[in-house]
Structures are given as C-alpha cells and as structure tokens.
Symmetry: C2
Subunit: 415 residues, 2 copies
C-alpha cells in the first residue's frame, strides 16, 4: 500500500496485480456483481466442491450404495479431513477429530476437561465470548449441578484464574471485533493456575495461523463453514493434545468413537486417541464438501493467506478513514493488523440499516448486535479492489442516506 497521499482505485488495482494469491479466486464459484465480505459467516463455494458432491451423491451413494463405506473410504473421511485441518492449527493429524458441530464439540471437551481437573468446578470465560460456547457451558453446568460458569471482562481473565478454575474457555478471534487473544500467553497462564485451556478457533481456522502445538494448548474446537469453506452447517473439528489422549473421556460416547464399532459390544470401550470424539455415523455429504473446502486453504498455504488478509484489512481500514470520516463510524477492531483476525468491524448507531443498504448494493457484510458492521476478508477469493469498491459503496450509502429507506429497517430472521 502506498504510504503517502490519497489512495485511489488504481492503487488497489496495483495491489491486485502484485498479489501472488490472486489466481486462487478462480477456484471459487462466485456470483457476479457481489463484493462478498461474509466469508467469516459462510465461506464461498469452491468449484471442486460442486463436482465432488455430485460425485459422492450420484456415484458413491447412488451406484455403490452401502459398500462405499469401505470401497470409497467413507469410514476414513473424518480422519482424512482432520489430517488437512491439523497443519492449519499447528496440530498433528492424530490430534484432530472432525465430527458434529462446534457446539457439540465444546460440550465434549468441556465435560472431558472438567474430569481432567478433579476438585475444580469453575469454567472461566468472558462475557463477549461467542454465545453458543457460553450456552453449552451453561447446559453442562445445569446438568452437573456443581459447575460454575464464571464470566469476567476480557482484561480480568488472568486475574480470575483462581485455583478453583478447571477450564479456561475462550474464542481466539472475537466474533464481533476480530480482536485476537494471546493464545500462548493465556494458555500458559491457565497452566500456571493449574487449569486447562479450551480454545474456540471458529474465526481463526483457515485465516489466522494457530500454533496449538507450540503453545502447548490442551483442547480446541473450530468451525468448518467459515474460512474453511465447508458449506452451510459443515461439520466442526476438535483438537486434543496428545498428552491428554489416554485420559480424556467424552460423555458423548457414541458407536463411532468405540474401539471396535462393528463388534457391536454391549460395553463402550473408547477408541485410541481423538477417534473417541466421533459419536454418531459420519455425515458423508457434508464431510466430502468440507474436505474440498479445507483443501483450498491447504493448497494456498496459511502463512501467505495471513499476509494477504492483513494487507486487505489494512487497506480497508485506511480507506474507511479516508472516505468515510464524516459519517460517525468508529473502528471496533484493533488498529494493528497483527492484533485482529481476518475481519474489520465498525460501530455505528445505524449499523443494521447501513448493512442492509450495502447488501442492496451488492456489498455483503453482516450486522452484529447491537451496533456492529462486520466485514470479513477471506483472502482466498477477495481482491484489493473489493476493499475499494466496498468502501466506495459505504460512502455512497452514507452520502445518499440510503440506509434510511424503509426496506432497510425491518429485521430479518437470520441476521
């Protein structure tokens, strides 16, 4: 990015021309006329996925039917996808399981983590954590009766790590602001206090490199349908550090996590390692789509993606400040690219209507209550000119007061 002077669209075009990852956009089927800044809610469709899902449905299910579990390797799909996710989060392939939803995996690992810290009955988290993580902790707390979910402000987490804390439950990249937690430091602090750390990587995996191994992380979960491009409601993943493998118990001890599922024994015996985190029958169609999605990230390389992502968000912030200074936006994300994930969030009292007006112009971001405009920059398929065009649209929405139109006020069911 030019360091001086007023930025123009030509600057963005030059950045696209110099972008070594620019060709990756061609691997996705993107609609024309849209600037898609919502890959952090739902990643775009890889071309290969459309073809692969058709193949799995028509050939593997339709023609090969039940024998596909062996002949087409369906039974190995969870482990195969896990092997692709692992390097993105600094894990070994045998430390990752792909199954169920993020929420269900939080439940498994939170329950399992509590058992690894007998005598400690507090789950520590922050109020700003993604709600489903808190809800699941509340559900486990009600079920067990003697577990407390303690919520503190972000800045008080370290101080709140008392000797009654069993598990520190945090999301690495904040879903509203994009602020990145110090995963290494907070994991160390949890360990120093005798607790385990359980990280939700929903907004990290595929966009922000994570080094779970290097940080001596204990437990983590993450989402398949955001930066991993697995499709709507894709399966999620769970990470368990190898040192906990033999001790970790999952309360969701379904047959696919059994040491010998097809022995049909009456008594549950956990499979070795993370395979015990599988529960029901693997969702093959969804896993096939997720495999293609994760491959797009794996092929691109997570380090290069992070560099491009930071450049994209940096340009967007600079452009908002250049073009939209008059309209009362506040930057909700950290100003330093290193401290935020692959998103830029702005605050504005009319956030909801402004987001709707942008969508009407083909700039798709999302609103997060109460006053956040959230713009995700999936570096696999976004261009620097997309950042320019988005800010140009934002400026026009504000200048023309398009957000005041009646059709932009009514709340949709899903926001």
């Amino acid at each position: 990015m030019p360091s001086t002077g007023r930025l123009t669209r030509a600057d963005a075009e030059a950045m696209d021309a110099a972008d070594e990852l620019a060709l990756l956009r061609g691997e996705f089927l993107l609609p024309g006329g849209i600037v898609y800044l919502d890959g952090n809610s739902l990643g775009a469709l890889p071309r290969r996925t459309a073809e692969r899902v058709r193949e799995v449905v028509e050939r593997e299910w339709g023609r090969d039917l039940i024998r596909s579990w062996n002949a087409n390797g369906w039974i190995d799909l969870p482990a195969r996808v896990a092997g692709l996710v692992a390097p993105l989060i600094g894990a070994s392939a045998d430390e990752v399981a792909v199954a169920d939803s993020t929420s269900v995996n939080v439940f498994k690992l939170l329950a399992g983590g509590l058992r690894l810290r007998p005598g400690r009955r507090v789950v520590l988290s922050e109020e700003a954590n993604f709600p489903t993580d808190l809800y699941v902790a509340q559900g486990l707390s009600r079920l067990l009766g003697d577990v407390e979910l303690r919520l503190v402000p972000r800045g008080s987490l370290r101080a709140a790590l008392g000797n009654d804390v069993a598990v520190l439950l945090l999301t690495h990249v904040d879903f509203r602001t994009g602020e990145i937690h110090d995963l290494a430091g907070l994991t160390r602090a949890a360990h120093d206090a005798g607790a385990l750390a359980l990280w939700d990587l929903a907004h990290s995996a595929g966009a922000v490199p994570v080094d779970l191994g290097g940080c001596e992380a204990d437990l983590a979960v993450g989402c398949g349908y955001k930066y991993l491009n697995g499709g709507p409601g894709a399966p999620a993943f769970a990470f368990v550090a190898r040192r906990w493998h033999s001790a970790l118990e999952t309360p969701l001890s379904g047959w696919m996590g059994h040491a010998s599922p097809f022995a049909f024994d009456t008594r549950y015996e956990p499979a070795g390692g993370v395979a015990r985190l599988l529960c029901g029958t693997p969702p093959v169609l969804s896993l096939a789509a997720l495999e293609c999605g994760v491959e797009t990230v794996a092929r691109a390389g997570i380090e290069g993606l992070r560099r491009k992502s930071m450049a994209l968000t940096q340009l967007f912030v600079a452009l908002v400040e250049q073009e939209c200074r008059a309209f009362g936006f506040a930057l909700a994300s950290p100003r330093e690219a290193e401290r935020r994930g692959s998103q830029v969030s702005l605050r504005h009292p009319k956030a909801y209507a402004i987001v709707q007006a942008l969508i009407a112009r083909g700039v798709v971001g999302d609103f997060r209550t109460p006053d956040i405009l959230r713009f995700g920059f999936a570096p696999l398929y976004l261009r620097f000119t997309d950042a320019w065009d988005a800010v140009a649209a934002l400026r026009e929405v504000m200048e023309n007061r398009e957000w005041q139109r009646p059709e932009h006020q009514a709340r949709a069911r899903v926001t």
Copy 2:
C-alpha cells in the same frame, strides 16, 4: 402369494404386476444388476435428491451465499423436515426436531428424561439394544456418577421396571432380528411404574408405522439414513410429547436452540417446544438431502408401504424355506410378519462368508455379528422378484459352496 403349491418366479412376477406401489421404484436411482437388501443400513438415492443437492450447492450456496438463510429458507429446514417426519411416527409437527445424530439425540433426551424423574437414577434397557444407545447411556452415567444403566433380557423388561427406574430406553425394531417391541404396552408399563419411555425408531421410521401420540409416548429418536433415504450419515430426529415441552431441558443447549439466537445474549434461554433441541448450525446440504428422502416415504404413504413390506418379507421367508431348507439356516426374525420390521434375518454359522458371496453375486444384504445374515426390504423400491432372485442366489451360493472362497473370509473395516 399363492397359498398352496411350490412358488415360482412367475408368482413373484404376478405380485409385482399387482403391486400398486411398483412405480415408486422409478423415483430412485438404482444401479443395474443389484438386488439391494440393505436399505435398512443406507436407503437408496432418490432421483430428486441428486437434483436438489446440486441446486442447494450451486445456486443457494454458490450464488445466493449467506442470504440463503433467509431467502432460501435454510433456517426453516430443520422444522420443515420435522413436519414431514411427524406423520410417519404419529406425532404433531411441533413435537419433532431434526438435528445432529441419533446418538447425540439419545444423549439429549436421556439427560432431559432423567431430570423429569428426580430421585430416580436408573436407565433400564436390554442387552440386545443397538450398542450406540447403550454407549451413550454409559457416557451419561459416567458423567453424572450416580446414574445406573441396568440391562436385562428382553423378557424381563416389565418385571425390571422398579420404582428406581427413570427412563426405559428401547429400540422399537431390533436391529439384529427385526422383532418389534410392544411400544404401546411397554410405554404403559413404564408409566405405571412412574418412568418415562425413550424409543429409538431407527429401524421403524419410514417402514413401520408408529403411533407415538396414540401410545402416549414421551420421548423418541430416529435415524435419517435408513428407510427415510436421507443419505449416508443424514441428520437424525428427536420427538418430545407436547406435555413435556415446557419442562424438558437439554444439556446440549447450543445457540440454535435459543429463543433468540441472533440476539447473541450471554444467557441461554430455551426456545419454545422442541426447537430447543437444535444445538449447532443446521447442516444444510444434509438436511436438503434428507428432506427429499422423507418426501419419498410421505408421498407413498406409510400404511401402504407397511403392507407391501410385510408381503415382501413373507414371500422371502417362504422362499428361503422352500429353496434353502438343506443348508442349515435358522429364521432369526419372528415368523409372523406383524411382529417383525421390514427385514428378515437368518442365522448361520458361516453368515459372514455367505453374505460376502451373495454380495459378489450382486445381492447386497449385511452381516451382523455373530451369525446373522440380515436382509432389509425397503418397500419403496424393492420388487417381489427381488426376493425371488435373492433366494435363488442364496441357494446357488450354498449349493456351489461359493462362501468357502478365500476372498469371502477376510473381514472388511465396516461390516
């Protein structure tokens, strides 16, 4: 079926000609040269599914992206599919939720059921129940510490309904033998003992009509990928009788079961009714496939399907007895069609190798440990001549001792 004399293939052909449901086979994409008697493990692919999944992937995900949650009704998919499942099991649409796997739903309802019976800490089941139900009960038991899973033989269930039993956990149609439990009588017996009944309808839904409402059933779960034709690892369903709606708590309290998921409140507040059983983000591709699968059953009508299913299994039993008397098979299923589900199971010491030899001839059934050959008769797409051809193949496998071939001995990963 002719009541006297030796059955011939012409008799089966005549039954096909008279079959009012015969045309439904055309709604499925079935491979040529195969007699598929494994629709109880994995239902066949409906033609419509192939088209619908392509549409969801390419148009709804690829083109409409995130706005599909509202614009293409993704957010309503779980309730829409639930509305199709409900009449098949004698439930109201607002008593069924479609989410997660059968195993995960057993966990939700077992935990929820235990809370509805405070002071009682026994889950009663039978040793022959499908293992994942037992495993999940064991996982919950280990998690809670004071819950006992008590397993008794089938004939002792009523006597074992003591005043410490909170939940009677049974599978309606036995996965090995196909024997049907007296759902109404056992539910009544559970109620008389002050317990709730939780029924697993995995081998019933879509093949055997169930009247949960008429039986005053409390809780049930079921599988989407067997007779509902939802595809490999399809989402499962859960039933909660309306009278329990306000009291039932799920420990898996994820954001999609929240009263207002997009308010992003810190505190979990359950949605009204069964909607609280949703947990993570709905798996859209899998739900779209499941919707098409359930529609095939709904269009055909469950009562007519049951009549055809009974006629198919009756013919198969008669043919095995006519053609294969010399080979040492024992009928593992009840002889009376009314007392068995849509399957016929035989016992034979060489069951595994015989099943492999049949598969090599294109007759696909499955083996269930230790000595069961299991043949599922999905009435939507099977013909009476399929029953004839299957038995003819079985006879040749035995006469020619094809099962002795070395390639039929080695156990596959998934059986």
